[in-house]
Structure formats: C-alpha cells, structure tokens
C-alpha cells in the first residue's frame, strides 16, 4: 500500500499544476478572509452580531473551489491522458488506487488548509482589532487559545480535506474533469441558493441541514450556536457523509466500469 501511496505522491508532486493551485488556494483564502475582516464595520457604541472567527475564515468559500480543482484533476487528468490505464496495470486493485489517491490529496489539502487557516486567523485578528472588534469590546476572542476558535480553525482545515475527498469521489464517478467540477460546484453552491429562496420553514431547514457547504461551514460558527439547525460537528458530519457517499460511488464506478 505504501508503494501505491508513494506513486500517487510522485504523480502529484511532479506535476506543476497542483503545487501552484494549492499555493493559490492559500493566498486566495487568506486574501478573501482579510478583505472580509477589513470590510466589517460596526457603529460605535453598539454590539453587532459579528462572529470574528467566521468572518476571518470567509476565504474558505473560495479556497474550497481551488482545492476541488486539484482533487478532480488527480483522477480526471489521468482519464484525459490515458495514464489511468497504466496506473491500473501497475496496481490492479482499484480500491487501493482510489484510497491512495484520497490519502495523498487529503494529506496535501490538510497541510495547505492548515497554512491557509492559520494565515486567515492571524490576518483577521489584526484587521478586526483595528476596527475594535476584539474581546475587550465584548466579541469572541480571535485566538487559537480560545477553544471555540480552535474548533472553528481546525474544523475548517478538515472541511477543506473533506471537500477534496468529495471532489475526488465525484471525479472518479463521472471521469470528465469539466463535468466533475461542475457537479462538485453545483453540490456546494446550489443548496445555499435554494435554501435562500425556499421559505417554507420545514424544507428550508432540511435544505440547510443537507447542504454540504452550509452544514459543513457550521464548524466555523463561534457565536449564536443555538440558532443553527445542527451543532458544528454534526454539520461537518453531514459533509463527511457526502464525501463518503461520493467516494463510494467513485469506487464502485472504478471497480465495475472499464477504464
């Protein structure tokens, strides 16, 4: 198994695309988070419903799309060049190929995500302090020493890794990279748009609970937790279920269809 993982790591490492994309994911995540933190204002003398951790981590919304590109191309790229046939000849056990790909992409995303989240939290802390949105003014302290903020930060890293696995699974199932990324982005973005227009309370709540992005990002919430339809970890669990479902679908297609 370690040989298979090593092979996958070599493939990921020696392509110029993934490295640059992951670097871009870090830069864009931190930049969007910093821009959002910089844009937050609150009239003096009042307490606004601001969640410092969530604001600082807004960049994950964009970063996840780039992580999805990397994860999709890890498998779709092989189909488009025909490399997949060589890979499967070298490692006939298809489960192991997909597991190795998942492990490599997941690990790469965890490292990237950790850097991106750390940069976002640091930038957010500095910028929010400039607007006096700090613990001294009654807001949640934006520091990793704070348990809830640590949960939001670590959870966001896990969120990115689960998005990578979801994308990998979808790509293994549909193969074509354009269609795969289209399906992934539709899964992520359409649920929040739907739940914003469907006002029937029951269905609205269910859509929010089912949405991989909305529910998954509950992990970033540090204030007003009672208003959420799920707890933060349950929300991340919803995304994990989506990722597991996609990986299973991908594994079955890989197993039962000719490459």
């Amino acid at each position: 198994m370690s040989d298979v993982v090593h092979a996958e790591w070599t493939k990921l490492r020696t392509l110029p695309g993934p490295g640059w994309l992951l670097l871009a994911a870090v830069a864009l995540t931190a930049a969007v988070g910093a821009a959002a933190a910089n844009a937050v204002t609150c009239p003096p003398g009042s307490i606004c419903p601001i969640d410092p951790a969530k604001v600082s981590l807004t960049g994950i919304d964009l970063g996840q799309a780039i992580v999805a590109i990397v994860a999709v191309t890890v498998i779709s790229g092989e189909y488009s060049t025909g490399m997949i046939r060589l890979t499967l000849t070298a490692t006939p056990s298809r489960w192991r190929v997909l597991t190795a790909k998942g492990a490599v992409v997941g690990a790469a995303t965890l490292v990237t995500g950790a850097v991106a989240v750390l940069a976002s939290v640091l930038a957010g802390g500095l910028l929010l302090a400039r607007h006096e949105l700090t613990a001294a003014h009654g807001y949640e302290a934006l520091s990793l020493a704070n348990g809830t903020v640590l949960r939001a930060a670590a959870g966001s890293v896990l969120y990115l890794a689960l998005i990578a696995l979801l994308s990998l699974g979808v790509a293994a199932a549909v193969r074509d990279s354009a269609v795969a990324i289209g399906v992934v982005l539709a899964l992520l973005f359409l649920f929040p748009i739907l739940s914003s227009v469907i006002t029937s309370p029951g269905l609205h709540r269910h859509l929010e609970q089912l949405s991989p992005m909305t529910a998954g990002l509950y992990i970033q919430a540090t204030t007003n937790l009672r208003s959420l339809p799920l707890t933060p970890w349950q929300g991340l669990g919803v995304l994990a279920a989506w990722a597991a479902g996609a990986m299973l679908a991908g594994a079955l297609v890989l197993r039962f269809r000719d490459a």
Binding site: A178, V179, V197
Partner: protein, 530 residues
C-alpha cells in the same frame, strides 16, 4: 510527346465563408450527445427549481413561532400598477370642478417609538413615544381622486428633513424649497386643479409663489377629495453591519399645524371631515392617536403611515428564476468543453487546418454557443416565470405586477445572461486549455460573488454591493425588478432584492468580462501553437 496536364479535381472549390464555419461548429455541437443533453438538463433544472421554489414558499408572517404562516396580503396598487402604501390622516372636503387650496404651515412635529407597539390600555395612545420628527414625516395639502386605497393623487407637503416636496401618484417626487418649517419661517403651499392637471406652488412669504411641479392625473373625477393630510413612515434604523442590513422600528406620528387655509372654486361641503386611511402593511399605531383639531382658522392634523411605493423585502419574479444558477453551471461546463474537448482530442488541429483564420474560428464558436444557450434560456424563462408566479400566488405569496417591458427584460435578460456566461466559459477555456480550472474560474467568478452578496450574514452590505458592481455576478441585475426610491427610507441591499446597478448596466459588466476574456483568448489563440 504529349504534355501531361497535372491532375485537377473536377469538384468545385468549397466556399470558406463565415456561414460555412458556423455550420461546421453547429454540426460539432449538435453531434456531441453530452452537450445536447447538458443543454436540455440546463433547461429542465431552471424550470424544475422554479416550480420547486414556487411550491415551497410560504409567506413569512408568523404570529407565534408555532403558529402556521399567514398568507401575505397583496398591497393596494397605485395608478401605475405598482404596489403602494396608502396610509395617512386625511382632513377632506369634496372639491367640485376646478379650484385651488392654499395653506400656511407653521410647524411639523413628531413622535416615534424605536420598536414595537406603543400605548397602554386606558392610557394615552402615544404613551412611551419619544418626541422627534422622521426625515420623511410629511404634512401638507392633497387632491386625491377618491379615498380608495391607491387612488391617484397630487400633494404639496413639508417634510422632516427634505424641505418642501411635491409628490404625486406614489412614485413621483419633486423638491421645492429646502429647509425645516418653523413658526419663524413658515411655508405657504398651494395646489390648483385645472381639468386633470394639478399644479403645485410653494412660497416663503405668501406673496411670491414658485411653481414646483405639475401632475396630470388621468381619470381624475370632476369631484375630487381635497384637503390637508399628515403621514409619518415607521421609524427605521438601517443596520448596515453584518447580518445583511435590517430595518427595524416602531410607529411614528407627525403633526402639522396650518394656521391659514384658503380655498377657491366650488367646495360644496361646509365643513372638514377627518378620516384615517389605513393600509394593511403599517406598523401598529392606535387610530385614536391620529386626528385633527380646528380652532378658528387654525387646523392641526396628526397622522401616521406613508403615501409611497411599497418597498422592502418582497418576493419578485427573480424568485421564480432561482434555477438560473443551476442552469448557469451546466451551460458554463458546456461552454468550456466546447473548446477544451478540441484540445484534448486534437480536433483543434483539424479545425485550424480547415480554417486557418483563427479569429473567425473563435467567433464562430462563440456565435453558435451563444445562440444555442440563448434559445434554451429563453424557453426555460418563458416556461418557468408564469408557472412559478402561479405557484407562488397559490401559496399566498403575491408578486408585484410588472410591466410588459420589464417582463421582457427579465426573460431576455436571463437568456442573455446564460448565453454570455457560456461564452465567458468558452473564452476562459481557450485561455487556460484546462477544463477544471476554466469551469471553476467562471463559476466561482459568477455564482460565488452572488452567493456572498445575497445570503445575509456573510459580508457587510458595502462589500456586498461592491461585489455586485465589479464581478461578473453583476449580470444578475437583469433579473431585478425593484426600483429604489429616494423618498422612501428602507433597506436597499442585495439581500432584500435591490441590485446596486441598473439591469442593463449590470449586464454590461458581465459583457465586459466576456469581452476581455474573448480578447485574451483571441490573442493567445493567434500566438500559441495549437
């Protein structure tokens, strides 16, 4: 010895005009099963999501958290067919035929409550209210076709902080003299009716009059209701921090003092009648707080409510088009594949060998893709709008009526939005030559900014509006049908359906992005090897 003539084909040379190129690209498009299916899927998801939204929308009025939602009452409609608020205290007399009314206003005062219902049982109806006049509190004179809600009118008024205004038929607003009214600097107001023309004048001294504006109220009956009025819109604080901006507040009251009232023409009734015209969408203020008192020639009128277009968080046609996003993702994927598939299969080399003028190849691709997408989008919009509207209506969500022109703008705009997005996908696909990167760049460039801008609680309002001005998501403004009125103080944010750009200006932003991407694609197509 005979000379052998070199072989020349008897076949006529084929024409290589742009039409042939279009036909070639159309053939490529229609013979790839996945793309045709993709277009049909785009059409179906737009219709399906529209129907799903329509069938699962309930109006938001809930008296207690456990009680069922109530149907939203449709507000009255004004002379232009738009939804209006028509709620004020009216001190009136019939005016038969032509005539005029002039008054001197010496004060405008007010009371407001920052939230909730005021007054106590048995006590004063205004107990607990704070003295203070709202920016758009108003008192003055009005000529109105009838006391029916939404009937045509023209009015001259003093306002809390916007000076003298002439307003008519709810949507029109013209500024007169600036400045606050007071006993030291009173304002004279005059309205005169000739036929169906009503002209408003103001004056600072009662001798020198300035014409403020003239309104033609079509269908004004020969006997109209004329007199004094006072109105004051609900107290509103526009929270513009995170949370998407919310307007909250309680009822307010405005009191105008008129110490000289003169009338010309035929006024058959001898005395004034007071009436509280009450709309259905106003913050509660007990009717007994409103009214008028008469002492000699001096009249004091107190009123609450507003005479204005209805604004705020209302559902519009845009709601039936929520599926546009799903359709957009599908057409962008197709647009990107329309070019990246050629690179992947090597077909691009055949294409460019057959038509060496590369600019024309790109143009032909863009035209075919845009035409097909526009057609699919048009069919989807034409189907989903009436279906969605009907379903919303059946579920107690009335939708404000729109003019035929606005309807066409939304339908054609939605189709054009999809077409230009697909072309943007094509251009970015040509630049990047990578499907996954191109699809993500376009979708993240269009859908993600829209999501960040319209889902409340993610970004501050300023950032939301900025996103919908500069990113390709600005194109969604073509689906906006709500107008922002400066004379109505409410929350105009993307979250409540108000786009920062006019429909076609927003669309132009998207087109500019597509044009830049196409120019870059053309440049790279000419410079790079295929």
């Amino acid at each position: 010895m005979t000379m052998l003539a070199p072989y020349r084909s008897e076949l006529r040379t084929g024409r290589d005009g742009f039409a042939q190129l279009l036909r070639a690209e159309w053939t490529k498009f229609r013979t790839v099963r996945g793309w045709v299916i993709g277009m049909i899927v785009a059409l179906l998801v737009i219709v399906g999501i529209g129907a799903l939204t329509g069938a699962n929308s309930e109006c938001g009025i809930q008296l207690t958290p456990t009680s069922p939602s109530l149907a939203c009452p449709a507000p009255p409609t004004g002379p232009g067919g738009e939804w209006v608020t028509d709620s004020f205290y009216f001190v009136r007399q019939p005016l038969a035929g032509n005539g005029s009314i002039a008054v001197r206003v010496t004060s405008l005062t007010g009371l407001y409550s920052t939230h909730g219902v005021v007054g106590s049982a048995g006590g004063s109806p205004t107990a607990g209210m704070t003295p203070g006049v709202q920016p758009w509190s108003k008192a003055g004179i009005i000529i109105k076709a009838s006391t029916r809600q939404g009937a045509a009118y023209a009015a001259m008024m003093v306002t809390g902080s916007h000076g003298v205004r002439m307003q008519w038929d709810f949507t029109h607003d013209v500024a007169g003299q600036a400045g606050m009214v007071s006993a030291a600097s009173p304002r004279w107001l005059r309205l005169s009716r000739v036929g169906d023309m009503i002209t408003g004048y103001d004056s600072a001294d009662g001798a020198h009059w300035t014409r403020v504006g003239a309104a033609r109220l079509s269908g004004l009956p020969s006997t109209a209701q004329a007199g004094l009025f006072a109105a004051s819109p609900g107290y509103s604080v526009n929270t513009t921090s995170l949370g998407g901006g919310s307007s909250k507040g309680g009822p307010t009251l405005a009191t105008g003092t008129f110490d000289q009232v003169s009338r010309r023409g035929a006024w058959p009734a001898a005395r004034w009648t007071g009436q509280d015209l009450q709309g259905t969408m106003d913050p509660a203020l007990s009717a007994s707080a409103q009214g008028f008192t008469q002492a000699g020639s001096r009249l004091t009128v107190s009123g609450s409510g507003d005479i204005a277009p209805a604004t705020g968080d209302v559902d519009t046609i845009k709601k039936t088009l929520a599926g546009t996003f799903a359709g957009l993702i599908a057409v962008v994927v197709i647009g990107v594949m329309f070019i990246t598939a050629e690179y992947r299969r090597g077909l691009i080399r055949t294409t460019l060998a057959a038509s060496p003028r590369r600019g024309r190849v790109l143009a032909a691709k863009a035209v075919v893709l845009a035409a097909v997408t526009f057609a699919a989008g048009l069919v989807a919009a034409v189907i989903v709008i009436p279906v969605g509207e009907r379903l919303l209506h059946e579920n107690g969500n009335p939708i404000p009526p729109v003019t035929a022109f606005t309807w066409l703008q939304v339908v054609a705009g939605t189709a054009a939005l999809l077409a230009v997005s697909a072309v943007l996908g094509l251009a970015v696909g040509m630049v990047l030559r990578r499907s996954a990167g191109a699809v993500t760049a376009v979708i993240a460039g269009i859908v993600l900014p829209y999501l960040l801008a319209t889902v409340p609680g993610i970004l501050p309002v300023g950032a939301e509006q900025w996103l919908l001005r500069v990113t390709p998501a600005a194109g969604f403004a073509v689906q906006g049908t709500l107008t922002q009125y400066p004379q109505v103080n409410t929350v105009y944010t993307p979250g409540t359906g108000y786009f920062p750009l006019a429909p076609w200006a927003g669309f132009a932003v998207l087109c500019a992005w597509a044009a830049v991407a196409l120019a870059l694609a053309l440049f790279l197509l000419r410079r790079r090897d295929a």
